[in-house]
Symmetry: C2
């Protein structure tokens, strides 16, 4: 398979490092608006199948030209969510398979942001679903770890573990810490603020999608692998928009195990107006407070060597088991930063995000997975995905009892 | 008395509003680097004794010229602490009485900031004490409410209430709140951060001055006047540097009743590097994170009308009473924002700061207080000050038992 990887940040770099070990990759073009960043990724991989190019993700003609020039049949979007739509549209025009790990952005409801949804995550993409289907083009959206592997778990639970599902509850937590830093999020603070301060969305069979106040429905969830109990709160996340389209459940939620410390930090940033992206005047210049917050923190891509601990992505499912009795399970995937640094030179969170689209590309390249239209990971058979993920050296797990 | 008031911010504006009601003021020049701000203060007062001028506080020649032109015998510095030294030196050269409400700035110890003092608050001013004394010029430093009235209380306690003082503990707290804002400090966040994150300084008879970690020695102090209990922590403040020079005590502390919420906010700003004044690069521009924090919050000078509650400044004293038995008292001064807004159109915190230097100027103008050299408020007789403050319509109080 010939692939155009757009975005040579932390996740893009990990995608390259993982893909370099797989034979299905014939040619991989690493593209970034900063050509030095793309070149650095390719040099680190040191594989003749890989090349670096400069590419502006918003330039449809440039993207089409790169796809054509390199004969790519798939584009993997590893940029931030602002660039989803131009890349998504470019693939429709070029009739090339599109994959991403985060979906098109939401817009809060103009008058009732904390009760009613406005524009939902992925709405702009699903609006083009018929056009993708008619053109025979596949967009596999939300194919990272969360969304992504979490959605694969949902399909697995529905097909193999439950006869009736009460709740599909994504629960994400980690005990990652950075030497000498009380607060150093392992991925972009910009995204963390966006996820956590946007109105969380919840789906219920009887109500459809609705929103709540930030940090709603706090609960303590006990994460496996030695991570332990963490305070989790509702967060806006793609799974809540994806799962109900393919899986029958009474309720779908996403709760992030931020822990009380990080929740406190985010509340403070919000309270002081520092989470805002609306520029403020400071002296003679105009800056976005959120960008200033990001500039004060270390670049997450540089944290790997000073970080330790594990990150856990997973799906808690409750309902009725295939035997007819009540059942709860927690399907999960844990990456230890020490392992991912040693094996791939990649920090755990970005490695865990990056491995899943590579597995998906391999399933598409080998024809195990195929489809047309705009599809989430739960639209495909989960078993070959979970088996291939395990064969990548990164097994998943299941805790009976929730 | 002919007075040059430098700084037409919240405190300067309140000084003008209070001074306008006093006959001892013959002429008051309101000076600011922003002439519109100075003019606005003078227009609000509407008193023919008051004039507005443009003045750069760092321009020694300009300050000397303004003092000479208006025949001023006293300069009241109502600017921020960065301008203390140029104005202080200008008064020495011009042989004019100098007053301020905050002293020259500290510099943390280069290697042991949280145990050893570096350059202390006021050190730069006290270094010129002999020159002031030799020139027959008085600098009355730290003559606001805290420092200021708190130091007057210390002198009063030593002269009239105690035969032996164990601890002089300034304790400051308020129940001020701003309509619709969870966090809106009633004075500059820049100063709040500076005070609270600099290493707190403590004085003990056997150790002299030493520093601690920020937010050290938390205690809950029950403030009078309906304010109630608040979490207080050590903060760097001028009283700790002033009181031991004139009053015999075993220990001198300053604890600020920030409450756990504000302490949490300040800790977070510190943890994220947002308290820093060292510029960071954001896009193409360079900004001080602390200035960005300030720009996100409402201007404290504009908060008066939406604020409610009371602010309490005071001194807790423990030791042996004049009758030889153990004694504890809390000497205090409370301003209700509703009262200060109605009576003076001034927010409570700036009014409480501003009234004290006006009282001191009146005592100097009438010859009740006199001196030469660099002196704190505790170098003067406390009784006439406290009586005059009461006659300004703002009585002080004493709670027996601490």
């Amino acid at each position: 398979m010939r692939i155009l990887l757009v975005g040579a940040g932390g996740v893009g770099g990990s995608v390259a490092a993982i893909a370099a070990r797989r034979d299905f990759v014939e040619h991989l073009v690493v593209a970034d608006s900063d050509p030095a960043r793309a070149r650095a990724v390719v040099e680190r991989v040191g594989d003749p199948r890989f090349v670096a190019v400069r590419l502006d993700a918003t330039d449809a003609d440039g993207v089409a030209a790169a796809l054509a020039e390199h004969g790519c049949t798939a584009l993997l979007n590893a940029t931030d969510p602002r660039f989803v739509m131009p890349l998504f549209r470019a693939c429709l025009l070029a009739r090339v398979t599109y994959l991403d790990m985060a979906m098109s952005m939401s817009v809060p409801h103009p008058t009732s942001p904390y009760t009613q949804p406005g524009v939902l995550l992925g709405d702009e993409q699903f609006a083009l679903a018929d056009e993708f289907a008619a053109a025979g083009v596949l967009a596999l959206v939300g194919m990272g770890v969360e969304p992504g592997l979490s959605d694969v778990f949902a399909r697995y639970a529905a097909d193999h573990l439950f006869s009736r599902i009460d709740e599909l509850g994504v629960r994400d937590g980690s005990d990652l810490r950075v030497e000498g830093r009380g607060f150093a999020p392992p991925f972009s603070i910009w995204t963390l603020i966006e996820e956590c301060l946007n109105p969380p969305v919840v789906w219920e069979r009887d109500r459809g999608w609705f929103t709540t106040e930030p940090f709603s429905e706090p609960e303590v969830f006990d994460f496996p692998g030695g991570i332990g109990p963490l305070e989790c709160v509702n967060v806006e996340h793609e799974e809540v928009l994806l799962m109900p389209r393919w899986i029958d459940a009474r309720r779908v939620t996403f709760k992030y195990g931020l822990g009380s410390h990080v929740i406190g930090v985010l509340r403070t940033l919000h309270e002081l107006g520092l989470s805002s992206t609306v520029p403020v005047q400071v002296g003679g210049v105009s800056v976005s407070p959120r960008e200033v917050v990001a500039a004060c923190l270390p670049d997450p891509a540089t944290l790997g060597p000073t970080m330790s601990g594990r990150t856990c992505a997973g799906l808690w499912v409750s309902g009725t088991g295939v035997d007819g009795g009540p059942r709860q399970v927690y399907l999960h995937h844990i990456v230890d930063n020490e392992w991912s640094m040693r094996e791939y030179g990649c920090q755990a969170v970005v490695w865990q995000t990056a491995v899943n689209p590579v597995v998906a590309l391999e399933l598409l390249a080998t024809g195990v997975w195929s489809g047309r239209g705009v599809l989430g990971p739960e639209a495909f058979d989960a078993v070959p995905f979970l088996d291939l993920l395990t064969s990548y050296g990164s097994p998943w797990g299941m805790r009976e009892g929730g």
